[in-house]
Amino acid sequence: MSAVFNPVVMRITFRATMSRKRALLFAIPAVILIGISGLLKATQPTATQWPPAFLGTFGFSVVLPLTALIIGTSVLGAEIDDGSIIHLLATPVRRSAVVFSKFAVAVVLTITFAAVPELLAGLIATGPTKLTAGIFAGALAAAVIYNAIFVMVSVLTTRAIAVGLLYLVVWEGLLVNLVSGASELSAGQYSLGIANAIAHNSNLNAHLSLSTAVILGVIVTAVTLALAVRALSAFSLKGESV
């Protein structure tokens, strides 16, 4: 266990992430999601179209990726920015254990602040249905895949939030919808594919089959995490102003 995950790294990461001011942002997308779901349920209690469209579109292209972006760039990137990462790296702990531990914390926090709210919103909108189960399963997958991507981005660049936002808006938001075939390279579509395999609902706008979504999702997660480990192993401190 401790070869893959390091409990001390996880504990420090959790406390550091939750003690930053940024932690206040974690809950905002979820509050909006649940609030609007409640509002729609109150005004259109019997409609069947809005739950999959709203929870799928707003949930999977705004709430999940944004929450994962804020958390995923926070767990490792914030420590690289302020220099405190050096205290973890000046020990013999394997760099892979640092990356995996931080990734695990990010996934757990994203599940708490985005996947569980998706589940709650689904319950509010449709009750304990297949749609709710599918959306929750898809949200769990999104928490894993998006965080792998954002943890990698935060090791590779100091402008992780800007790069992550650009990726979300341009790639996930624009190209995936405009260019056919791009959905095979979209974390959002992998999660929707998994959601749709349970929910079977065309309003989710899922384009990928379950097997494609799972295989590609696993590959993207593994590759991005491997790149993050590689980059952290070559972590360099800037010298004096030269």
Binding site: R15, I86, L237
Partner: protein, 303 residues
């Protein structure tokens, strides 16, 4: 034992050479890495700790390259310059967590010992956020010492410390060196390390400018020619009296006062007070005119 060995190590960033062909060996005892800001000290320390890849040359710690080798930290402790610690932890939590990251068998005992060495037991249960600069520096040293490393690297450990904290830190480093450890620290202020005994390596412009026994280099520095600006109740008479002294090479009257070129810093400063009293002249101001670090280091390179 050779703790750290550098053979023809260079590091450049694009066209800028930060460290230029440096070879040195660091053994047990205290070694000061001295040089003005931007000389390449941090670059050197970062390479030693494995946080920067040498562009050329060989660098080993305990006989093995430190780049991409976290195992180096089994025998190496690093006190980074940046003051970014996990301020939400208490001092004890921070040092204990570091002990666990090292996989020590008894993290609590190791924490207690390390905190004892830096004399921080009283404040160990306070959050690091409440610590003064000197206390933060000491808790960082405790964390770096928790696994009892043979080699300790400290990047500008005296920065921002008051004189008393500085003396404590120097005594601490001396004590650690007496236990047989290799202690290497960097500093850009020569005067602040005067109590340290050991070796120094002077880095200027990315090159090794001087190295050797600390006292010898210190003597070289204090006996170097100095220019002072002196203002007194009678500059002309004081000038005449000064030029008769062997410690003085030249005197020039200027509207701002008397420019004195002293041949020997130590002798001149000792003699000046007695001379003015003897002549009945009142001394109003004494300013070293060329005390900039650059002139000190330039002198060192020239000799």
């Amino acid at each position: 034992m050779t703790a750290i060995e550098l053979r023809n190590v260079s590091r450049w960033y694009g066209n800028v050479v930060a460290v230029n062909d440096i070879s040195m060996t660091i053994g047990p005892g205290v070694t000061g890495l001295l040089g003005p800001n931007g000389a390449g000290k941090s670059t050197l320390l970062h390479m030693m700790a494995g946080f920067l890849e040498p562009s050329r040359g060989e660098l080993t710690v305990g006989g093995r390259p430190s780049w991409r080798n976290p195992e180096t930290f089994r025998i190496l402790g690093l006190v980074p310059e940046r003051d970014s610690v996990y301020s939400f932890l208490t001092g004890a939590d921070f040092v204990r967590a570091t002990a666990k990251l090292h996989g020590l068998a008894d993290p609590d005992a190791a924490m207690g010992r390390a905190i004892g060495i830096v004399e921080m037991a009283e404040a160990q249960d306070r959050k690091i956020a409440t610590y003064s600069k000197g206390m933060r520096q000491r808790i960082k040293v405790a964390a770096a010492l928790v696994h009892d490393p043979e080699v300790l690297l400290l990047d500008e450990p005296f920065n921002g410390m008051d004189p008393r904290q500085r003396l404590q830190m120097m005594d601490l480093l001396d004590g650690l060196a007496h236990q047989g450890r290799a202690i290497l620290f960097s500093s850009h202020i020569l005067e602040e390390v005067e109590r340290i005994s050991g070796t120094i390596q002077v880095i200027v412009g990315g090159r090794l400018a001087a190295s050797g026994d600390f006292r010898a280099i210190r003597r070289l520095m204090t006996s170097r020619p100095h220019v002072f600006l002196v203002r007194s109740s009678d500059d002309r008479r004081l000038g005449a009296a000064l030029i008769g002294r062997p410690a003085v090479n030249g005197v020039e009257l200027s509207p701002r006062g008397l420019q004195v070129r002293a041949a020997d810093y130590g002798a001149f400063t000792r003699e000046l007070a007695g001379l003015t009293r003897q002549e009945g002249i009142r001394l109003r101001e004494l300013l070293p005119a060329d005390e900039s670090l650059e002139s000190v280091f330039a002198y060192l390179i020239a000799s």
